[in-house]
């Protein structure tokens, strides 16, 4: 199992642009989710809030390697950064949180469940593991139609999600069909309160790749450069026909499971360990160190993000909430079934 770090030297030179791009989305995601979290704490968000704090590097690094309009990206609950990097308009996110009727689900499904399959971003259902096989199906269909070319399909999951039967069936099927699937596992050491020791017994989640006969790579999920380079390599391999890629990012979520949770189950030691480092400030420092941007540039990124977030939330806030009386209450697309 090759570690992403092995390849870093070769790739670093030409990845600075991608790193900066990813960093921008990380800042936007952090800014947005901090804001949503404070609105939530003021009691003004409907439903739960689940954030990706601490996971932005790993999340965006995948998405900046994808091409919207060509590739598939199926995010999960901690992928605000990846969603934005893939091209989701920020206002779509703001609209679901603020309950606008103009949101992508029209108020039918919530917050992190938003998606837009027409644009290559399937909308998640809650059942962990269930989205992987949907991505399989998209790739499978394209291959059948001859429209696959070198597109890839990426989807994300957590350490806990690897225990589901759905995860197993989908990865196995993808391997059998040699689909260009990338599954990124954000190994934040816990599934809600449950530590990895109660979730699996292999040494590393990448060990699971062996059982599917696919490639497994591990990466420091707090290190943006490592993440960008590793995903770059994996996406290239998938594009080249090398089959499914399992990428495991080791990190910690720097939040509760949801914003209602203060995560008493994460020990102080762990929080203070390398896993608990904040990917955002690490990336910030690295970018300065490498000279890829200066503090002024970065200040601008924060400033722009702040403006964008305020504006998106403002737009969403001022829109109407869904109206049950005019709502199209139908679960069917076929008109004959709606008579």
């Amino acid at each position: 199992m090759a570690s992403g770090a092995d390849h870093e030297d070769n790739l670093k030179n030409d990845s600075s642009e991608m790193v900066l791009d990813a960093f921008r989305w990380m800042v936007l995601a952090r800014t947005f989710e901090d804001k949503i979290s404070s609105i939530y704490k003021a009691g003004k968000i409907v439903g739960g809030v689940y954030v990706g704090k601490g996971q932005e590097a790993f999340s965006s690094a995948l998405a900046v390697n994808l091409v919207k309009g060509k590739d598939i990206y199926s995010p999960l609950i901690r992928d605000m950064a990846g969603r934005s990097a893939f091209g989701e308009p920020l206002v779509d996110a703001a609209r679901t949180y603020m309950g606008s009727s103009k949101g992508p689900t029209q108020g039918r499904d919530g917050n992190v469940h938003r998606g837009n399959p027409r644009e290559g971003m399937p909308a998640m259902i809650s059942h962990l593991g269930a989205m992987i096989s949907v991505v399989n199906g998209i790739l499978f269909a394209r291959r059948m139609k001859g429209t696959l070319d070198d597109a890839v399909g990426a989807t994300t999951i957590g350490d806990g999600g690897t225990s589901t039967g759905a995860f197993h069936e989908a990865l196995n099927l993808a391997a059998v069909e040699n689909l260009p699937l990338i599954v990124s596992v954000a190994n934040n050491q816990f599934a809600y309160s449950t530590p990895n020791s109660k979730q699996f017994a292999c040494d590393n989640i990448t060990d699971k790749a062996v059982g599917y006969g696919i490639t497994g790579v591990e990466v420091d999920g707090t290190d943006l450069v490592d993440c960008v380079n590793t995903f770059k390599l994996c996406v290239e391999k998938a594009r080249a026909g090398d089959g499914p890629q399992l990428v495991v990012g080791n990190l910690l979520r720097l939040s509760g499971h949801g914003e209602h949770d203060d995560a008493p189950y994460i020990s102080e030691d762990l929080r203070k360990s390398k896993l608990g480092e904040d990917c955002l400030s690490k990336a910030h420092n690295r970018i300065l160190d490498e000279g890829w941007a200066n503090q002024g540039d970065i200040d601008d990124i924060f400033k722009e993000s702040d403006d964008e977030v305020k504006s998106a939330i403002h737009t969403a806030e001022s829109e109407k909430v869904p109206d049950p009386y005019s709502h199209n209450w139908s679960a069917y697309s076929s008109s004959i079934l709606n008579e």
């Binding site: 992508p104 689900t105 039918r108 499904d109 469940h113 998606g115 837009n116 399959p117 027409r118 399937p122 909308a123 259902i125 059942h127 269930a130 989205m131 992987i132 096989s133 949907v134 991505v135 399989n136 199906g137 998209i138 790739l139 499978f140 269909a141 394209r142 059948m144 139609k145 039967g165 759905a166 069936e169 989908a170 196995n172 099927l173 059998v176 679960a331 069917y332 697309s333 076929s334 004959i336 079934l337």
Partner: protein, 321 residues
């Protein structure tokens, strides 16, 4: 030439594959082997890229079908037996059936469930699962009772833009034969009056239609004319046709092969009594299987499911009330 119910299913798939490049079939052993029941026999030879073997992964099979539908395909998933769809249940009811609601994108998939009891098949190769799927919003659930319907309804199922659960009955696979396949047919969502009558109406579907017909023929000798409505589609239910029949007979017995709690017979009786209460001259009656898993031994199995015999008992009582 004569054609069986099973061959009609094969034929409908063949026609659909021919007419539409978006159609493909996915399931266990359906390729070269032609399926556990041979309902895809020969199709792999004709369409090697669109008749594809899957691993034993019902959850992933249905998930894949939904993904393919997102890409504009019209997948047909064959479950080896309806009973095994239980492990694909989540993807069916929560992924496929909600796709349109969540995203405004259609989900034109057909899931074929070889359903129902045959002697010696036991608790896990005999189930009728229509209730489970019909309960969830967003599904269409069909259960054809004739060779002609197996053909035309499967073609309808494939062309409908929403997930269709196609409950084909294994007992009918070889037992039923027709001279030819229909060119035109009643839409799949409409019920059909199988047999006119005036003393009572039996509302049923799938294999039970034939049990009901046997009973009706027998009672006819005694001067009782039983009208039989074949629902064909159990969700949505064509309640107008059902109420029309009851308007003529004043009495109704709903029959289903599935388990007794809830299910098609409960739904149908509820709709009848809510919407056509004043048409009824007697309490509506219901007949389902017994409330146990489906027994393996044929002696027990025959007793467990409704038969012409137990239907006759029920109808005679109903007519007297």
């Amino acid at each position: 030439m004569s054609i069986t119910y099973l061959e009609a299913i094969r034929e409908a798939q063949s026609v659909a594959l021919q007419k539409n490049d978006e159609v493909f079939i996915y399931g266990q052993d359906i390729g070269f082997f032609g399926g556990a029941f041979k309902s895809t026999k020969g199709l792999y030879n004709e369409f090697p890229d669109r008749v594809l073997d899957s691993p034993i992964s019902e959850d992933a099979m249905v998930g894949l079908a939904v993904g393919a539908a997102i890409e504009g395909m019209r997948p047909i998933v064959e479950m080896q037996f309806a009973d095994f769809s239980s492990v694909g249940f989540n993807q069916i009811v929560n992924q496929a059936a909600t796709l349109y609601w969540r995203t405004s994108l259609a989900c034109p998939i057909t899931i074929r469930l070889p359903s129902g009891g045959t002697p010696g098949s036991g608790p896990f190769h005999s189930q009728c699962m229509e209730t489970i799927y019909a309960h969830y919003p967003g599904t269409v659930v069909m259960a054809p009772s004739t060779v002609e319907d197996a053909y035309s309804m499967l073609l309808d199922a494939i062309s409908i833009d929403d997930p269709v659960i196609f409950c084909e009955h294994k007992y009918l696979y070889y037992h039923l034969k027709a001279q030819q396949l229909p060119k035109k047919a009643l839409p799949a969502t409409k019920a059909r009056i199988v047999r006119p009558g005036r003393h009572a109406t039996i509302v049923t579907y799938s294999a039970m239609v034939h049990e009901a017909v046997s009973t009706a023929e027998k009672l006819s000798e005694d001067g009782f004319e039983i009208e039989i409505v074949d629902l064909r589609c159990v969700k949505p239910i064509d309640i107008e046709t059902v109420l029309g029949s009851i308007a003529r007979t004043g009495r109704v017995l709903a029959i289903g092969e599935a388990f007794p709690w809830g299910g098609v017979t409960a739904e149908i009786i509820s709709q009848i009594t809510s919407e056509g209460f004043n048409l009824l001259d007697a309490p509506p009656a219901r007949l389902n299987s017994l409330d146990t898993p489906i027994p393996y031994h044929p002696e027990l199995w025959r007793f467990h499911r409704p038969t012409a015999h137990s239907i006759e008992d029920k109808i005679r009582k109903l007519i007297k009330e």
